[in-house]
Symmetry: C2
Subunit: 568 residues, 2 copies
């Protein structure tokens, strides 16, 4: 069969589209391809027993929040057949790709039979597998990963048959923390061990801090900044001791490894397709590999970071779905391309929600170390999620990263309860169009007392940053308070000052600042702080207009505490 570039629109009359992997990216690609062509022959090969299942729901299935396994199945092979005329072959593993002859070798996992299947277009959507590091004792029974429905079934069985009362979760990312919550819900005492000194590694530590506190308050034991070195039998029958680098040991009846996922690239490697430095399959913005007839989508591919332009891995369902659609479009001759990822994410653990979009400060600093400096500024704020005059208002801790040159938004992170992810969604949408902090300032958002304030937290984030950029109120950070020879002014009320303040700070409450200016130095910079940054902003404005050099410390005491600052 002559090589036909499908993208030239010279389609074979009935293109044969083979898709390897049938969860988010593969399933979307197949369904979209069918909507673009009734003639195409579309076959999904899935190694596992299920296609299109909701793996984001697995921790909740373990915790009996989701009670029916069936509800995790977004679609079944029967639905694919009836609704989309798509042939789904589960328990069929694709062994190799013969690019020259455009064929794949497939093995039926149940019967062991193998056979060849020819293709006009091949889409690799193999996903990613849970990392199982080669640690001593890793193969002991009772050590699980949670990535598939059978994984969750094994865990549930183990919990009931061993009457599990204590568990160790290794890794404090999404899956680790969601699993910890769900095990706790079952009455299991949970210890989470995390290599980094914070939970939720994608976030900056001072934003993760509130979640960390909440986990502890909910009875989760956290062991941070230490890594697991291996597993041993415990003193009691069927117990496992997770040992760590620091020499600690944590005994429990089950261990959940939640240390991330790794792109499934065996097939791509075998076929000689390019693999990126992060270990994912390299594709163009059309999701095409170096082979004009092979596409790749989902957790297995590297994608471009929207902010930095660098390659990244982002194994999330939303982008995988979009990539699947785009691959189908391109295969069928439509002009579609993937715009990269912002990394928008949310995670709720117990009552606290953390959400983020764009890059973190950690990411920007890592790029700086690698010689790719993207100058940035940041602001912190702690606004209430709705009007304080309406019952139930709670604070959201927010961080906004932006360009000091033009105010373009680089990223935002938030932690709080209700309405937390809403603010990140709004900022994610703003970032998509290249909006600036000045645009956030001007955003016209929903306001009623139950939902927000006349100045929404998103507006406030924009205002604080815009005031800094305009030079009205240049921003200072707690790190500045440590290093510059400055005068530290606390403008809270005396009772607040007395309950704990920055060492060496002088207290002049905001209402007294105008009358007590003679107590302030004109020969050095005054760094002003308050509880969350609002009163200090007012005070810094007063001082600047009166000829002092003054900056407000962003986020105030709330941010200081989140940064593990010690009050005196």
């Amino acid at each position: 069969m002559a090589a036909t570039d499908l993208n030239t629109k010279e389609h074979p009359k009935k293109p044969r589209i083979l898709i390897v992997g049938g969860v988010a990216g593969g399933a979307s690609c197949a369904a979209r391809a069918r909507r673009l062509s009734e003639d195409a022959e579309i076959i999904i090969f899935e190694r596992g027993p299920y296609v299109s299942f909701a793996n984001c729901g697995l921790p909740y299935f373990v915790g009996d929040v989701i009670t029916s396994e069936k509800s995790l199945l977004v679609a079944t092979p029967e639905i694919f057949k009836k609704r989309f005329n798509i042939d789904v072959r589960t328990q069929n593993e694709v062994l190799s790709i013969d690019r020259e002859n455009r064929q794949i070798q497939v093995r039926n996992v149940l019967t062991g039979e193998t056979g060849a299947e020819g293709y006009d277009a091949l889409v690799l959507a193999p996903g990613a597998s849970a990392v199982r590091p080669p640690l001593k004792g890793i193969e002991m029974p009772g050590i699980f990963t949670l990535r598939t429905i059978p994984d969750s079934r094994l865990m549930k069985n183990w919990i009931s048959s061993n009457n599990v009362k204590r568990a160790v979760v290794v890794g404090a990312g999404f899956v680790g923390l969601e699993t910890a919550e769900n095990l706790a819900r079952l009455g299991i005492a949970v210890t989470v061990i995390e290599m980094l000194p914070q939970v939720m590694p994608p976030l900056d530590p001072e934003i993760a801090a509130a979640l960390q506190e909440h986990l502890v308050a909910k009875g989760i034991k956290l062991h941070l900044g230490d890594s697991v070195t291996g597993f041993e039998r415990g003193s009691v029958e069927n117990t496992i001791v997770a040992t760590t680098k620091s020499g600690a040991g944590f005994e429990s009846q089950m261990v959940i490894l939640a240390v991330g996922v790794r792109p499934e690239t065996a097939l791509a490697k075998q076929a000689g397709l390019e693999i990126g430095s992060l270990g994912g399959i390299r594709v163009t913005e059309h999701m095409r590999t170096g082979d004009a007839n092979i596409w790749a989508v989902g957790d297995a591919v590297e994608v471009r970071d929207f902010v930095t332009g660098e390659w990244t891995l982002l194994p999330l369902a939303g982008p995988a779905n979009r990539q699947g659609r785009i691959a189908a479009d391109v295969i069928m001759g439509c002009d579609s391309s993937f715009r990269g990822v912002q990394g928008t994410m949310v995670c709720k653990v117990f009552d606290v929600t953390v959400a983020s979009t764009g890059v973190s400060e950690k990411t920007l600093l890592r790029h700086r170390l690698n010689g790719k400096d993207i100058p940035f500024e940041k602001v912190y704020l702690h606004p209430y999620h709705h009007a304080t005059y309406y019952p139930g208002a709670k604070q959201i801790a927010m961080k906004l990263l932006y360009s000091p040159a033009d105010g373009r938004i680089f990223g935002a992170q938030a932690v709080g309860e209700e309405g937390t992810e809403k603010r990140i969604d709004v900022i994610a949408m703003a970032m998509q169009s290249g909006s600036t902090v000045f645009d956030l300032e001007e955003a016209e958002l929903c306001y009623a007392p139950q939902f927000g304030t006349a100045r929404d937290p998103v507006n406030l984030a924009g205002m604080v940053a815009a005031n800094a950029l305009r030079g009205d109120s240049p921003v200072a950070h707690w790190t500045d308070a440590g290093i510059t020879p400055s005068f530290i002014l606390d403008v809270r009320e005396p009772f607040e000052f007395d309950s704990g303040h920055f060492a060496g700070a002088v207290n002049i409450p905001l209402p007294m600042v105008r009358n007590r200016m003679d107590e302030l130095p004109r020969d050095k910079e005054i760094l002003v702080y308050c509880a969350a940054g609002q009163r200090s902003y007012y005070a810094a404005r007063i001082l600047r207009l009166n000829g002092f050099s003054a900056r407000s410390i962003s986020g105030g005491i709330a941010t200081f505490k989140a940064q593990k600052g010690k009050l005196v």
Copy 2:
């Protein structure tokens, strides 16, 4: 004193800024002006007893959700003085403006004393007053409006001293419905009378429909499409009968007039400032009136509609705050301008939230009638607010209006429970940057099972509209089903069809469509529908790819019902 144009930056050394009105716009303006100048003399004149109070909270204060009157006071004259060095003069009515001499006449409401005050800059922020139509009997005791704290206090006293068991609310907008809910919360039987045949006049009726149903389910009696003509004494002592155009009478112990607000323009008129055709003060994008030294902000001014470019009135706190800041900026010589209003709004009544941004279809049709046609297309959808595999997923009814030329978003409306206003906020942010439905399709939003789906409702709205614009799936509406000589195909399952369908529709369930195409006509258009629009989209794609002329009816049966369509 020589006329100085403050905008030329040739400020008087200590400009004297007088502000008439101290709620949202006036208070923001004052505080902002102070942050820009320590030298300016800033005085707020407020006719009422309070400044900066939360009038959006008043219905909840009436309903005892907000229990402390004090919590409605966002700021007091004392706070203004201590924090901002702003002189607030409550109970001081500004009687007239002497533009030539740059003076205002002020009367102390308590003492009756009058005096003149000179200004360099004058800011009019008089707000709007509740409309009290000149109906027969309107001055009877027991007939209230709810706009100020004293209003709410009067209502509360009346309710307790008259042991109110039945109330009539006239007007089914925000204030009317929020008040109805709060009266019901107090155990009062409430009837709402509305002139239009729908509740929430800013929304299109088919979106308001769900809220309407919910109100009825919660025991609120709705009397729509009829207007109140007057009030009479009732049969029982102290009761009031509201009589209507249709001849009906509604007896109750109290009446709340919630028929909108009217810009306070007496002062502006007296001063000969331009008043727009909608009755608001006309200002430039710098919030300046025709007099270079007089600005106006808030509910009293006309503003530009962001979508249509036409003048409009939008008496909401968010825009008022922004306008106040902008006026202060301009007065102090900064380059700020108001970008117009999108009309973003939200209202929660009992468990249901309605939210909207941009223009409604009603508004676009009104413009068309007035010869200012803005071609538009619309789509309906009914996505779940979070993943269906996670407990508690509920549908949101959404409507998206956009340009058929380039996909630019004109407006969006939604009604549902949790997460409703979030989707409108995201679309509001998208609209601000001129984004299109293609951008919504590509948006990368927060997804975890508690918050959304891998394809968020915002993405889905974008996809449906984008599929229509690309010609993949042109959209049809129920109105088309009534007028075109078409074939109506219902692709739901037989049990759904039997439970009620469009008169004359033929039922072929989606999974059978490919096998039963010979039953379908090739000589006329096929309009396909299902429950909410997804299956009909699939079916329409199948038919189109097989050479039929077919369109999916947007929103399916759910939208048909919302449009008061009758099923057979």
